[in-house]
């Protein structure tokens, strides 16, 4: 399967090959190059556009707990960028983080969520991560957590690391469409359709 691995070079080669057979206009070829070009390396430290440093740190830590790897995948940056242009989203996250902090203070007398002990954090998350615990007391936390979870997952699974973890091998281009025999045999055998 290695020839089908996600590789920008493979894609360019395959597109170029397909194009050479059919006459790809120069501007189109250039577009393919641009799209396939390596992402620009981010320079310097990200400056939050909406969140306070405290909120941003909390969000980064919470995302990482929800989806390990989400911090490096830029979950907090992603949410900050969008919330800076969307008041509804901003309110969901600033309100949610404030709720977490207040809940920590109430339960453990620690000033905030990030400052609490890992065990104290997960004790609270274990409650708000499930709809079955819905109550007037936990409701706001549960609804916030659903947002944090889906956006952390979005950030991670659209990042290079997340895509690699899922094992997506496409966006590579092929000159001929072929499915590995072992994959077909695997599914046929398991399905008992053969």
């Amino acid at each position: 399967m290695s020839e089908n691995n996600v590789s920008r070079r493979t894609m360019l080669r395959n597109v170029a090959l397909a194009a050479s057979l059919g006459g790809l206009p120069a501007d189109a070829a250039q577009h393919v190059h641009n799209a396939a070009a390596e992402d620009k390396k981010a320079t310097g430290v990200y400056k939050p556009k909406l969140f306070t440093p405290h909120e941003f740190t909390t969000l980064a830590s919470l995302s990482e707990t929800i989806i390990p790897g989400a911090r490096a995948a830029g979950a907090a940056e992603f949410i900050d960028l969008l919330a800076a242009h969307n008041d509804e989203l901003a309110a969901i996250f600033t309100g949610g983080i404030a709720w977490l902090d207040r809940e920590m203070l109430r339960r453990h007398n620690t000033p905030d969520y990030v400052g609490a002990k890992p065990g104290q954090q997960t004790a609270l998350l274990d409650l708000i991560a499930y709809r079955k615990n819905d109550s007037p007391e936990l409701g706001p936390g549960i609804r916030f957590f659903e947002w944090a979870r889906k956006m952390a997952a979005d950030a991670y699974y659209t990042s290079k690391a997340g895509i690699a973890e899922l094992g997506y091998k496409g966006n590579a281009g092929m000159t001929e469409f072929k499915i590995p025999r072992e994959a077909i045999d695997y599914a046929m055998k398991k399905s008992e359709l053969a």
Binding site: N4, I67, L81, H85, T158, G167, I184, Y186
Partner: protein, 570 residues
């Protein structure tokens, strides 16, 4: 409006709209040496700039959500990465619905219209599809037969490039095909399940190239047709018909020009097209010898209904009163299932075509005493898709929790779902139509359409048949049904009218001028130099996506028009 600017010269043919219908007319006429003026409401398309093929979600900061997180609040009109200009709502250009009914109208405003990002499923109508009334007493027969249109299916397929295989199935006539790509793993499973149920499952017929054609490259199997294909390996009116026609020097393209009205003279002939130049918001007129309206079925009906005069009080070409009536969409119903046989499947590149490689044509056409009239085909979805925003929302909601265990479940859900989507025939009914809303105009001052839409028992029973069949197929694969797969649906799980985007029939053809607007060549009974070349002329809405038939019919209309111009008849 101060002054209407009129063109000094008389244009031979003015075509309104550059989608599948308009693009075909422009291609055919310019090929026959006829000069054409094309009026298009949207801007020019520049694929190299406008298409986002091959981009990864992490190449943009918002990952595809839109700058203001539109996708998270259902405010994104169309996916960020998709080809431009397709909308359920267009700012300043509303449409209304009769109270108590729902209808959604998908419009594009750009060179190429909706073909820049359509699904490219290209199915011929069957012989019996042109004779629905003779077959079961419902609806009306077409004024043409399969034999009349078959040569134009041949021309259309040969020119645009369609994949497929010879199958000898009456509901799915064979055509002139390029070799299709191999099936994907989940499609092989569906095929085997169907074999066991005696349901046909065959290579799908798609307007994509597996071999180069007319300077267009063969597909490189990236699965991203919806974003627009930079190598023009799939059919779009813009890249395959309009741009090449522009190179002939025989077409003058006027973009950002919204046709408002067709102007007629004392004899009832069309003498000019009046349009709003969107750049200047002024009204302009082009004088013409003949006009081909191809603004998409409902826009064409709207334009004709708005072209009122003393002679044409109900709108142009509407002495029969049929314009706007006989509106239909396809019946849509979807189910998806989790297939354990796909769990742990060795990962591989399954991108392939942007769309299915196998499909299920209708199979019960010979059955007597069916529970519902007509039939449907089934579209198959699945595979290891490029991860994108929202892909894991279902898993997050289902599994809840967090941490490594959630990640494991998300990974386990990837690529194990197969979806089946039925697309079936709706019978026209008197509660389903469009008309001019007397109270509302758009931002150009043009009266807008008001829709009324209703399914009847025919369609509801058909959707139930789909549900039962899809359950059987999923179970046969060893899977469990996981949910209704139509994003927008009514109580019974049936799609909301318009959302399958096969709206048509609003300016129908027929032999009798009392019950049809157009003759067998899509020429207005009431105005000999007026033609319609989109899906408005269709007499019925068979269980096949309409675009290949739009292309074939437009091709035939254009050849007829060229002949009539030569003879001096129009």
């Amino acid at each position: 409006m101060l002054q209407v600017i009129r063109s000094p010269n008389v244009h031979d043919v003015v075509v309104i709209g550059s989608g599948a219908g308009g693009g075909t007319v422009v291609h055919v006429l310019t090929g026959l040496g006829v000069n054409v003026t094309l009026i298009e409401a949207g801007p020019m398309l520049n694929p190299a700039k406008d298409f986002k093929e091959h981009m990864w979600p992490h190449q943009v900061g918002h990952r595809g959500a839109g700058d203001a997180a539109e996708q998270y609040f259902d405010k994104q009109q169309w996916g960020y990465f998709n080809a431009p200009n397709g909308y359920w709502d267009i700012e300043g250009e509303p449409y209304t619905t009769v109270p108590g009914t729902t209808f959604k109208w998908f419009r594009s405003r750009v060179i190429g219209g909706r073909t820049n990002h359509y699904g490219r499923i290209s199915l011929r109508f069957a012989d019996y599809d042109f004779k629905p009334y003779s077959t079961d007493g419902l609806g009306d027969d077409w004024p043409i037969t399969y034999e009349d249109i078959a040569p134009y299916y041949d021309k259309a397929e040969t020119f645009i490039g369609v994949t497929g295989t010879k199958e000898n199935i009456r509901s799915a006539p064979d055509g002139i095909f390029q070799t299709p790509p191999d099936p994907r793993v989940h499609e092989i499973l569906v095929k085997h399940a169907c074999d066991g149920l005696k349901i046909p499952c065959i290579p799908s017929r798609m307007a994509m190239l597996t071999k180069p054609l007319n300077g267009r490259a063969a597909c490189h199997y990236c699965g991203q047709c919806g974003r627009g294909c930079v190598t023009a390996s799939n059919y779009s009116s813009s890249q395959v018909q309009i741009f090449p026609a522009m190179k002939t020097g025989r077409v003058q393209v006027i973009t950002n020009a919204m046709a408002r009205e067709l102007i007629t003279d004392g004899t009832g002939k069309v003498v000019a097209v009046s349009y709003i130049d969107k750049n200047t918001r002024t009204e302009k007129q082009v004088r013409c010898r003949s006009v081909v309206v191809a603004a998409s079925a409902c826009e064409s009906a709207r334009l004709l209904l708005n072209s009122k005069s003393a002679r044409h009080a109900n709108g142009l070409a509407n002495s029969s009163g049929v314009i706007g009536r006989y509106l239909t969409d396809s019946v849509g119903f979807g189910l998806s299932g989790r297939i354990p046989a796909l769990e742990g499947l060795p990962k591989h590149d399954s991108d392939g075509f942007g769309g299915m490689h196998m499909y299920i044509p209708w199979w019960e056409y010979a059955k007597k005493n069916k529970e519902f009239p007509r039939g449907y085909h089934v579209e198959i979805g699945g595979g290891f898709r490029m991860p994108q925003l929202g892909m894991t929302h279902g898993s997050c909601r289902r599994h809840e929790g967090y941490g490594p265990s959630l990640k494991q479940k998300i990974a386990g859900d990837y690529g194990v779902t197969v979806s089946l989507a039925g697309r079936g025939e709706m019978i026209p009914n008197q509660h389903t139509y469009c008309e001019i809303d007397p109270a509302v105009v758009d931002r150009f001052g043009i009266p807008v359409l008001r829709f009324s839409f209703r399914w009847t028992e025919h369609e509801v029973r058909q959707a139930r048949h789909m549900q039962a069949t899809f359950q059987e197929i999923i179970q046969k694969m060893g899977g469990t049904v996981s949910g209704l797969a139509n994003p927008e649906r009514e109580g019974e799980g049936i799609s909301i009218g318009g959302t399958i985007i096969h709206e048509l029939g609003t300016v129908r053809m027929g032999n009798d001028p009392n019950s049809s607007a157009l003759n067998a060549y899509c020429q207005a009974h009431d105005a000999k130099n007026l033609f319609v070349a989109d899906a408005a002329p269709f007499v019925s809405n068979p269980d096949k996506n309409p675009t290949l038939t739009i292309t074939a019919l437009a091709w035939r209309t254009a050849e007829y028009l060229a002949e009539e111009l030569k003879k001096g008849n129009v």
